[in-house]
């Protein structure tokens, strides 16, 4: 038996004028992408403990590292900003980085089962699957945002509560998490085993975090490190967050530049991940 719906659908797609066909394809792409994100959200709803434990690390950074270094005044923030205010967006970006960069573990788990195979045999384009995974990472990142904002507020950080600024930070979280979870997916596609993945994940997080403006300004870095920091997407995520999360916060590169670079990172990495994703089922 032929499937009448699929037949009708593919007939409609074949006969539709090009503009409409593209619209249908775009709608299907979005639906497939959101289906994977919904899958992630439903999982998190069943078992939110992981999100809670993930929120512990940024809390320690802010409450211990932040409080101490605020008193030492060892790190010049480059403006009149208090160090804790300077640090809060950096810690938020860091926790989003951590959640993203280890997302590949879940993908390897799906590969050890047959879930990746099942996804790859569905009609969804590979890139739609990758974007779905990236957005899932973003949703996890947003939960970190809530935790860090709550703690920052308790510690008296000068949070900018304007709705537009909150929305901007949410977008930066989504893009940042998408960037690093897609990078993580790429690594998972290459190494394919949990053991190798953990090694590489740990090796990567250190330079990504320390060669960025998360806990100190780029201005105090030696020249070679500055270059790495400029190439690091985390730098632009932090820069955007610092300008929008904190009252009186300023961007160094400009919000347009920050968001453009983050969006570009997601696109480039997703394109690459779309090519590599099928390797997981071979």
């Amino acid at each position: 038996m032929k499937s009448p719906e699929l037949d009708a659908l593919s007939r409609a797609a074949d006969e539709a004028p090009p503009a409409l066909r593209q619209q249908n394809r775009a709608a299907a792409f979005l639906r497939q992408c959101l289906a994977l994100t919904e899958m992630e959200m439903r999982k998190l709803r069943h078992d939110p403990t992981e999100l809670a434990t993930r929120a512990l690390q940024p809390m320690l950074w802010l409450a211990v590292f932040g409080e101490v270094f605020s008193r030492v005044r060892a790190i010049p923030t480059g403006s009149s900003m208090r160090y804790l205010d300077f640090l809060a967006p950096g810690v938020l970006a860091q926790s989003v980085l951590f959640i993203g960069i280890f997302y590949g573990i879940a993908v390897i788990w799906e590969r050890d089962l047959g879930i990746v195979h099942k996804l790859l045999v569905s009609p969804a384009p590979r890139v739609a699957l990758v974007f779905g995974k990236a957005l899932s990472g973003g949703v996890r990142g947003l939960s970190q945002g809530v935790a860090v904002y709550a703690l920052a507020w308790l510690l008296g950080v000068a949070i900018n509560w304007r709705a537009g600024m909150l929305a901007g930070v949410a977008l930066a979280i989504l893009l940042g998490a998408a960037t690093f979870s897609t990078l993580s997916l790429i690594i998972a596609c290459i190494v394919r085993t949990r053991e190798r993945f953990m090694g590489i994940g740990q090796v990567l997080t250190m330079p990504l975090f320390f060669a960025s403006n998360a806990i100190y300004p780029i201005a105090i870095m030696p020249g070679w490190l500055k270059v790495i920091a400029w190439l690091n997407p985390l730098t632009y995520e932090v820069d955007a967050m610092r300008a929008m999360m904190i009252r009186g916060g300023k961007t160094i590169f400009g919000l347009g530049m920050d968001f453009a670079i983050l969006a570009l990172s997601v696109l480039v990495l997703a394109g690459l991940a779309g090519k590599l994703y099928p390797n997981l089922a071979k």
């Binding site: 659908l9 289906a35 919904e38 069943h46 089962l113 099942k118 384009p125």
Partner: protein
């Protein structure tokens, strides 16, 4: 017209030729079995037919579409139950079906009725709201079958559908596979290393050994062809391949199979 055809389908991994010039044709509505020990190349054939793995040479068409040139069209026309567990244990049975209905573009107006019908078909209505983690191996397999039929595929691929199941659960799966071909007129392409399964289910079987098809035909004809109509398929297998059928496979494969059996409970 044949709904599935392969011509000299070949896959090499470095020096190893996993699938070596396989020619098959399957008619619409058939239950076709690929029979052979672990490592014979059965899963590699299925991976090529489901577009997961590109052939090294040769070609294959499924539902009239070339697996290499029109992979997206092939994927729309097929359902697939991998050998490994392919349902998510951290979701409920209903949620597993819902996500795949969305992924496959089952129209919104039909989603709930299709999911309900699929659950009823495999007898999981009462377990639908439970987490899949708590399902038995047989229930998971049934859920996987429900998932694969949700979008009414023309061809359904089942890779070792009853490996690791107890005899009772195996019977249930067989019954479902038969109804898929009967009631829903799907073509079923399955791999197995259980002779009994091939004998019980398949209209025709291809016996595969070391990447090649060594015999092809209806089970009763194969038995007759070795001059013993009352022979078992095991004897047929030994006759055509020159050795007994036993579950071989390397360390990695065995540990994988056992792991997935353990997971299914």
């Amino acid at each position: 017209m044949n709904i599935l055809e392969t011509q000299a389908l070949t896959r090499r991994y470095g020096d190893l030729t996993a699938v070596d010039g396989v020619n098959l044709s399957v008619a619409a509505g058939e239950i076709f079995g690929l029979l052979g020990p672990n490592g014979a190349g059965k899963t590699t054939v299925i991976k090529m037919l489901t577009t997961l793995l590109p052939p090294t040479s040769g070609r294959a068409t499924v539902a009239g579409f070339d697996v290499q040139r029109q992979p997206a069209r092939v994927r729309e026309a097929i359902g697939y139950v991998p050998q490994l567990v392919s349902v998510d244990g951290t979701l409920t049975g209903y949620e597993n079906l819902l996500i795949f209905a969305k992924l496959y573009g089952v129209p919104r107006s039909e989603r709930e009725s299709r999911i309900a019908a699929a659950l009823e078909f495999v007898g999981l209505e009462d377990a639908a709201e439970r987490m899949v983690r708590g399902y038995s191996g047989g229930m998971m397999r049934r859920l996987e079958i429900a998932l694969a039929m949700l979008h009414r595929p023309q061809v359904l691929f089942l890779d070792e559908p009853t490996v690791g199941l107890d005899p009772l659960a195996r019977q249930t799966v067989w019954q479902h596979v038969k109804s898929l071909a009967g009631e829903f007129q799907m073509t079923v392409f399955l791999t197995t290393h259980f002779m009994e399964e091939a004998d019980h289910l398949c209209g025709r079987v291809a016996i595969m050994n070391l990447g090649r098809v060594s015999a092809l035909g209806r089970p009763q004809d194969l038995k007759a062809s070795i001059g013993k109509p009352e022979a078992t398929l095991d004897e047929v297998f030994a006759h055509f391949t020159g050795h007994e059928l036993e579950s071989g496979g390397d360390f990695r494969e065995i540990s994988r199979t056992r792991r997935s059996i353990a997971r299914r409970g």
